[in-house]
């Protein structure tokens, strides 16, 4: 059994565990009511496990990649919300019970359940529509970190006092253990681990301007320590501590350096928002809390990939650059084609280094630049990455070739559709979804 499948089955068993515990020992209340209870029990377990899923626990993340795990976290929250919305509807069982939903003179722990449900609806909707309502990532995360534990507390209170099944000792043990674990994980993830990372920060060695709005930040590990082990193409979370007045926020960026270099690690960052627009003000000597590595966007996870086709757009070049640098440093002889799309020539990142690699032999690299809005003197490919260009540089027989796609969401979606239309099997298309909220 694969590691991913094992974890999914384990997840399912944990979610349905309360139902298994109560089936023969709990007090029946009628089918509709018992189904309503079960939906609440399982919905609650899903919410408890959300804290573990989002806490970047390596054992959980490893088979899936953090990008996929956090998307699962987002989608399953909608599932849990549906279960918990149906729960009170089934408990009412008709007109006599509608007071459970609409009545005002009800015990305080019913109100706790109502509050939890309303907050959960808000939390889920805001997370789904975060960009559309113009809420910054940082504000969204702050609200999430406040309301998610608040919901957990309210749910615990509601279920403890209102739940028939919580009279069972086994259920009480399960409930207390689960909520305790979620609390411990949350406190570790949000408070303890950041403190520990700050005790051994990396130090900025160099800030190099790659283009007008792209910076490479090279960081040295703490004194006496080596850079942590990572694979080319992975990413990490960085928190910069710079001049007072500059924001201190944690964000994730790809590692663009080669893991063959043990004395430093580099991330290449584009100014796309309020925080990243301050990257140019980062100075050597500034400290950085580093947490990584994460992700599965690396050819190292797929040793069977011998012919690599990299399709990159804009700053999506960074994980691919990490991979190409590692192939160069380890004198990897496999063949690789990089098709790199940008709007203008001055936006091409790592252009000189890519040319050097293409003539260096390791890997056997072909670089194709594609510009959508070139100046008149541009003689290279124009327009967008499309089927015609892929066939021109990769051939029409794509059997055995592995495609690594990284770039803006719409571009990546369109390219993947194109590759599928061209007959490339799903298992030969690799992609990283870089924005956790998309």
């Amino acid at each position: 059994m694969s590691g991913g499948l094992f974890r999914i089955i384990l997840y399912l068993l944990i979610v349905i565990l309360p139902v298994l515990l109560t089936v023969l020992t709990g007090e029946p209340g009628g089918i509709m009511i018992d189904v309503g209870r079960n939906l609440a029990l399982t919905g609650l377990m899903i919410l408890v496990l959300q804290f573990l899923i989002a806490s970047r626990i390596k054992w959980i993340e490893r088979p899936f990649g953090l990008d996929i795990l956090l998307r699962f976290h987002k989608f399953i929250a909608v599932g849990a919300l549906c279960l918990l919305l149906i729960h009170p509807l089934l408990l009412t069982r008709g007109e006599a019970g509608w007071r459970l939903i609409f009545g005002l003179d009800l015990p305080w722990f019913i109100w706790a359940g109502r509050a939890a449900l309303i907050l959960l609806i808000g939390l889920v909707l805001v997370s789904i529509y975060q960009s559309r309502i113009g809420l910054s990532f940082e504000k969204w995360r702050l609200g999430h970190n406040i309301f998610a534990p608040a919901i957990l507390v309210l749910i615990f209170i509601h279920s403890w006092f209102a739940g028939v099944d919580l009279e069972l000792l086994s259920m009480q043990v399960l409930w207390i253990s689960s909520f305790f674990l979620a609390t411990v994980v949350f406190v570790y993830h949000r408070i303890l681990r950041p403190m520990l990372l700050c005790r051994y920060p990396y130090v900025v060695q160099e800030v190099r301007r790659e283009t007008d709005d792209v910076w490479s930040v090279k960081m040295a590990p703490p004194e006496g320590r080596a850079v942590y082990d990572y694979l080319p193409g992975q990413f990490h979370f960085l928190t910069f501590f710079r001049h007072p007045g500059l924001p201190v926020e944690e964000h994730h960026w790809t590692i663009s350096s080669s893991p063959a270099k043990k004395d430093s690690i580099t991330s290449t960052i584009k100014a796309v928002g309020d925080f990243t627009s301050t990257m140019g003000q980062t100075r050597p000597g500034d400290t950085v809390a580093v947490h990584g590595p994460f992700g599965r966007f690396s050819y190292m996870f797929h040793p069977e990939d011998r012919e690599l086709i990299f399709l990159a757009g804009g700053i999506g070049i960074t994980p691919i650059m990490g991979m190409l640098r590692y192939m160069r440093d380890t004198k990897d002889t496999r063949s690789a084609v990089l098709m790199y799309a940008n709007r203008r020539e001055d936006q091409i990142v790592f252009r000189d280094e890519l040319e050097d690699m293409a003539s260096g032999g390791y890997p056997d690299l072909t670089v194709v630049h594609v510009l959508s809005r070139p100046e008149d003197e541009w003689t290279g490919e124009t327009g967008h990455l499309n089927r015609k260009k892929i066939e021109k540089y990769c051939g029409t027989d794509l059997k055995g070739k592995a495609f690594y796609v990284c770039g803006p969401l719409k571009m990546a979606d369109a390219l993947i559709t194109t590759l599928q239309d061209m007959g490339v099997p799903q298992k030969k298309i690799r992609r990283e979804i870089f924005s956790f909220l998309d």
Binding site: P28, G29, G30, I68, R71, R93, I416, I429
Partner: protein, 125 residues
């Protein structure tokens, strides 16, 4: 591609959870046998007590309050716990039809015969 499996996994997990909830919810009720020592009317009352959702709010093995007062030893008490009216069949019937405080009314839900069955069951507690 990893993301291809994401939606089916989420849907699969939720579907499995719903299926388990329904199957085990049904199983829980069908594994219950009526107490052998209850008279027939009281046994039917016990079934109604569960089916009509009374057990959601009232303990039958305790006098502790859940959402409503516990009913253990109800007919051994002098007064009903919520309304403080004297314990009698008539006052219990009144509580079912025109409840004191936030208990929902069962006026349109329980027939006279069903009220008798529930009262028979309450007498056994």
């Amino acid at each position: 591609m990893r993301s291809t499996y994401l939606n089916p996994t989420v849907i699969g997990v939720v579907a499995a959870v719903v299926a388990v909830s329904i199957v085990f919810g049904a199983l829980r009720n069908f594994t219950v046998t009526e107490p052998a020592d209850l008279p027939a009317e009281a046994a039917q009352g016990a079934q109604l007590f569960n089916d009509r959702g009374c057990s959601q709010c009232h303990f039958t093995d305790s006098d502790q309050t859940r959402m409503g007062p516990g009913l253990l030893g109800l007919f051994n008490r002098q007064n009903l716990p919520a309304s403080d009216r004297p314990v009698s069949e008539e006052n219990i019937r009144r509580q079912l039809m025109d409840p004191f405080r936030s208990m929902p009314s069962y006026a349109d839900i329980l027939t006279r015969e069903e009220q008798d069955q529930i009262i028979s069951f309450l007498k056994t507690l």
